[in-house]
Symmetry: D2
Subunit: 445 residues, 4 copies
């Protein structure tokens, strides 16, 4: 049986991930993501009303018109986890395929949310919620398995497609965290077992391949958050922390630090509300009862007035806006369009890295400059990455022993680090390490 | 009484620190350090036979000929801690002053060692070992106090000179580690008290002023070391860790990790021997009995042959050479001039940052390239800094409330971050923040 | 007579230049500039309706409230040339002083234009147009001389204030171009003579002090423009060049290249119209008769339609938008909101450097990405700087032999290169090289 | 007839270029270069005594053992020009092939020189000097043509191999200089004609593919050299210029500038002697009679003493050492081991870029620091590149219209810019743009 790996998106950029795996004439689609950069440079804010082909032309979503060349029938659309660069194009593309969408509960809730905002297309695919650690028969020949792993959002999976020829592993967005703050460590035992059973191909992320060494555990981030919040001189000043709203483990650490400081944790922002409420509803995290969550503008303003009146020193604000996004809570505080005021000595902790995109850098620069002009103290990079470092990638490949490797989730220049790494392990580019461009298929016979 | 702060060295570079504090006509010298970069570019390896004036002209040691302009008598030479950029010029300069050298026990042992190698000058100053937390009367008017702090070498102190006009604080090389791996946290209580008593001037380091936020605790480094050593796939391969030989806390963490891995820790290198043996002798650290320390070339080669024969998987080597220094153990392993062989999959952990100096970068590049050509896996930056980050500096200044600030231990462009920081706190350059050049004195009346 | 140099703006940033020179109780103000970055980050587009104090608080214009501390009467406001960072705050600040505004004709036209747009303040100061090479008595004791120099805008001057104590030289924004494309070379003879007569202080720009060597002549830029336009394969494609609209010499070179290529040069953009029309009116430049200048949106669209119809290969478009400014012609072509279309193989020549400001970098990135997506070929950095390189600064100081030096037009970290340079010439920071902060005065007695 | 392009060296690095082109069972080898970096990091200085296999293992020369897999007979070894990364491995590898070495006269003289120093191998291949613009039958089916082009060394050629299937073009190391200082411009007419005749494959350099725009002409460099030498204040000081000794056109410009300054030009260094003497002998350049060339240490010291005695202001020294190479003239002047002294205000012009290799950066840093400590003024980057910029590559490809493209002379990450460029022209990686690793062959049928 012929095995084909078709690159649809994410093979020339970080973003809009989409891969099709073909075994004989049956196909599984992996991820349907958004490329936020291309949305930003076009100044688009309402993608929900746009046509797929316009978004494809902008480079904002994968160009799945190439699926027409693929000689097979799509049996399932599988999302590895709930980040936008993996699910963001579902509302624009999924309806073209007569196949269920499969994802873990947390990701599925986010997919449903995206679909509910969509204005142009009706997405009526079956939504099949799956369980990490479980295997699902999606056609006569194909079984999809979801191996639990760690990333920076709950319920991330390494997806394995079992074919009659052996396994195909899709390892985008993972880290090897053996001391996580939440949920179990990755299922190393199963990964090793899959390796022993025989892996034909592995599609592997390259986001952090240039990071020498291993990616630190989330417990390192928790320690850094604790040290920053407990140890700076901050008894009588305002303290805000900004982080990814989908990073539930990080928010948990921040909330716990707030409790230990005798400050009431308040969460601000629509996305903060969406992610945390969903995580609590699904039982993924259990935050203390006195936490406040303020997703709506009106509620946000009311509680901010109360905080200013009661005294900022009684609260710890957890806010959106770590990338200086226009409209996010921290950005609006910097712009003085909210009733919460940043004052001299107030602390702003960035529990996130700055995304190295010119538009984001500009947004951060504007926001930080304004916060500094008010006298606020900025604490940056209180953060660890959610992506595998070079030596984690080494260990993943060592466990899986794949016959063929496909670097993904990166532009070509970043893939060169993956080539160097894998060649140091005995692979060879052009022989068993394959660089692909969006739209190309590699057939393994 | 007139107070003078005289910059001798370290006000135009990172290195060769030396400051003179004058109260009326009594003077205390703080540190006498070496500028390693200037030794390196001149290709000098035997500074012990060189004249002071030649080293001054090379920029390798502070130009203390400017002391002649200073209207006062030197009462003490005080070393804040035992790093070379603070004690390295003692053998070349101390003999010119009729004053005791004061330092904590660990630093004093290193000073004695330096003096013992000196070939050109007889250093016969009284060597007065001091205790952190204690105060010493050095003249009628002056008392020197050693406040315990943390850095990347044991027994580091923030030095306080008490004058009739108030205190002068010399805070070069410190970090605010509240969860140290070894020794107590800094004596924050005393620092705050000194602040309340009144600080006229503070001389403060700028090495990491560009690091937004706080410097992580050594316990973060320990966690990173543990995760790297325990979690990479390394059961049956050779593992080496390289770090600063004076960084006893780090070496302790590495040794403990080795024990937990059931590998015997072996320490290699002359400086590794000197520092660790000294630390053990002084009771600073207590390493397990089965540790091996190999400072002598012959002993080093013998044990390496044994390791190769017994199996590398039973040992963990802790080696010098993290900067690719010619002659260091790791460098020589890379060069294949020792009987220990780096093989494919062997792991080399750099528990140190790469010093951003062109000659060091070249040395590291050569060594790393050779190790990679042998198939070794490199784990880099498993490390945290020993210097205060920007927000630690903020807190130090907030505790001390000094009337005047003097940035030090940096070239002018790095000092600009210190100016920005202190101006955000209400100070003003040219008024109470003073930029000085080597050789200049600032008089506070 | 006491001489005072008071830093008002431009001593902590590149932008909003303003210096006051006091001789006894008479004062001359030099430049009143805008800090565009601070306007941008606040998202302001209509500064003409804003209050001075609001703009001061934003950091957009110099804080001249410190002029109240200055014990003297303002006798003249002198603008060295017509760039916005030197004249942009005139409409907001000049009316506070009962003194004439002095500038060369080209700068004066631009000042008048700025004043005409101002909505909040009436600027009724006398406008005194001056001639390069001439001296003007502005009070009993003070004479202001305008020495012709070169920069990237016509009629730039090095301003010299002659006092009874000697000369004070204000050398912001100059380059030593001995082979200019337009106007004479700098008046070296007069600079040397002023040096021999005796210079007390010189305020000198630091913008390019980190550029080792000399700044290339504008004739190098002309040669680069020629080679790019004549030699790339472009016979049958569209060609656009974008450059600074105030850079009349550069535009002259581009227009001449267009003529030599048998393409009709068309200039687009409101500022392009303003600057070039002014330069022609003043007899500074004489462009060929068939050149088209299209400042108005309607005219712009009409001619673009004609170009598309006639064939792009008959025209060369010279457009605004080299920094991706929203609303500029090139930006709008990239955004497809104009009737001119960028097509595959079309050439876009950037005869300008990218300004290293995060907001500009983001704008350029967005525009370039869109142009590339259309298949356009981008030719970047076909440009030389209008600011003095390190070795030009050396020669300026060597000619003037000033007793005291004041670096300006840069943040502190950039000034460190100036300190290194001047110390290599025998000056010494803190003695005869003075670093100042906005608002500070240095008195030379 | 099957056409094979076999990458031997230079497909994973900048250096050690070697490619084999196979047409049926006949093979032409293109270049046999050295990778200087790998020689440097191993601290080797006497490669002439080393075995090929040792140099291969070090990565210093191409691993031509892969030639064994190639099913064909080597008919010619063709060197495109005389730089070491193209001819440096000839003494180590050529003797293994029973085929003539073909090169233009200047390159051939350098090849002979290399062979004469070789201690281990006898290189007895026929040496066939060729003429640019001519075609040479090397076997029944193959004709090799040398198309004149420009680079930074005389007599550089773009090599074309004519096969029964069409032409194969080898365009490593070229620039499109239409206004050269010496020799004719590239033979564009012939390149276009070859394009029309039909090009199967082109192997193209990527060294400067990241340079947006075109590479400036050597006449720009001449103008920059002139402006630097004539316009800085240097009448009564020492002036040295350092550049590539093989860059005869640059040296010509410098010599002419010296004449115009009424300074006698003196050339120093063994390689300066070798290259210039060869160029004069071959009639490539005609330097004025009063030029002095000093290749031998003794002669060098004698004339330096004379210069110091006569007055430096009468001479202009052209010296080796632009990369701080140990033993080069400028390096030794910095180290004070020659009788010529660098003094305050003396000028040192670097008419070369700094090669971005860590060891070179370290060498330059050491040398520059020492020169600056002596008060010398450094003029850097008075230089233009000899390699094609991105838009020159575009034009080359547009002229040749090759069916298949092979980027070379770069590591993989640098090749990504080539992929982006060619994909903007309608090619596609993996289809007609082929990334290869050293040792791989791509067969075009």
């Amino acid at each position: 049986m012929e095995i084909g790996i078709k690159a649809i998106g994410g093979y020339e950029e970080v973003g809009k991930n989409m891969t099709a795996v073909r075994a004989g004439d049956e196909v599984v689609i992996l991820d349907m993501g958004l490329n936020l950069d291309r949305v930003q440079i076009h100044g688009e804010t309402r993608t929900e009303t746009m046509e797929s082909l316009d978004l494809i032309e902008m480079g904002a979503i994968p160009d799945d018109t190439v699926m027409g060349d693929l000689d097979g029938e799509v049996k399932a659309i599988v999302c590895s986890h709930g980040h936008l660069d993996h699910i963001g194009a579902v509302p624009k593309l999924a309806h073209r395929y007569d196949a269920p969408i499969m994802a873990t509960p947390f990701a599925m809730e986010l997919i449903k949310d995206k679909i509910s905002w969509e204005k142009r297309f009706k997405v009526e695919n079956e939504l099949q919620t799956v369980e990490p650690g479980k295997r699902y028969q999606v056609s006569d020949d194909l079984v999809v398995e979801f191996v639990h792993t760690k990333h920076s959002i709950p319920q991330t999976t390494t997806v394995v497609i079992h074919t009659p020829e052996g396994a195909i592993v899709y390892a985008l967005d993972f880290r090897f965290d053996r001391n996580p703050v939440m949920e179990d460590p990755p299922d190393f035992k199963r990964l090793r077992q899959i390796g022993r059973e025989g892996v034909i191909c592995a599609v592997i992320e390259c986001v952090n391949v240039e990071t020498e060494g291993m990616s630190p555990s989330e417990s390192v981030a928790r320690m850094m958050v604790n040290q920053t919040l407990h140890e700076a001189e901050n008894e009588d000043v305002g303290v805000m922390v900004t982080t990814f709203s989908s990073h539930v483990a990080r928010i948990k650490s921040i909330v716990e630090a707030a409790e230990a400081m005798d400050r009431r944790p308040l969460l601000f922002g629509r996305s903060m509300d969406k992610y945390i409420t969903t995580a609590e509803k699904l039982g993924i995290v259990d935050l203390p009862g006195d936490i406040g969550i303020y997703g709506h503008p009106k509620a946000r303003e009311d509680i901010m007035r109360k905080v200013m009146k009661d005294g900022k020193e009684n609260y710890l604000l957890i806010v959106t806006g770590h990338q200086g996004e226009p409209g996010a809570t921290l950005t609006r505080i910097a712009n003085e369009t909210l009733p919460y005021e940043a004052e001299p000595e107030d602390q702003v902790v960035f529990s996130a890295r700055r995304i190295p995109n010119p538009l984001t850098i500009a947004n951060r620069y504007s926001m930080e400059t304004k916060l500094r002009m008010k006298g606020a103290r900025l604490f940056q990079d209180v953060h660890v990455s959610g992506h595998a470092g070079k030596q984690d990638l080494y260990d993943m490949i060592k466990m899986l022993q794949p016959q063929h490797l496909f670097p993904a989730h990166a532009p070509l220049d970043m893939m060169s680090g993956f080539v160097d790494l894998t060649e140091s392990m005995g692979y060879r580019m052009g022989e068993d390490v394959h660089l692909m461009r969006n739209g190309q298929e590699m057939v393994i016979s």
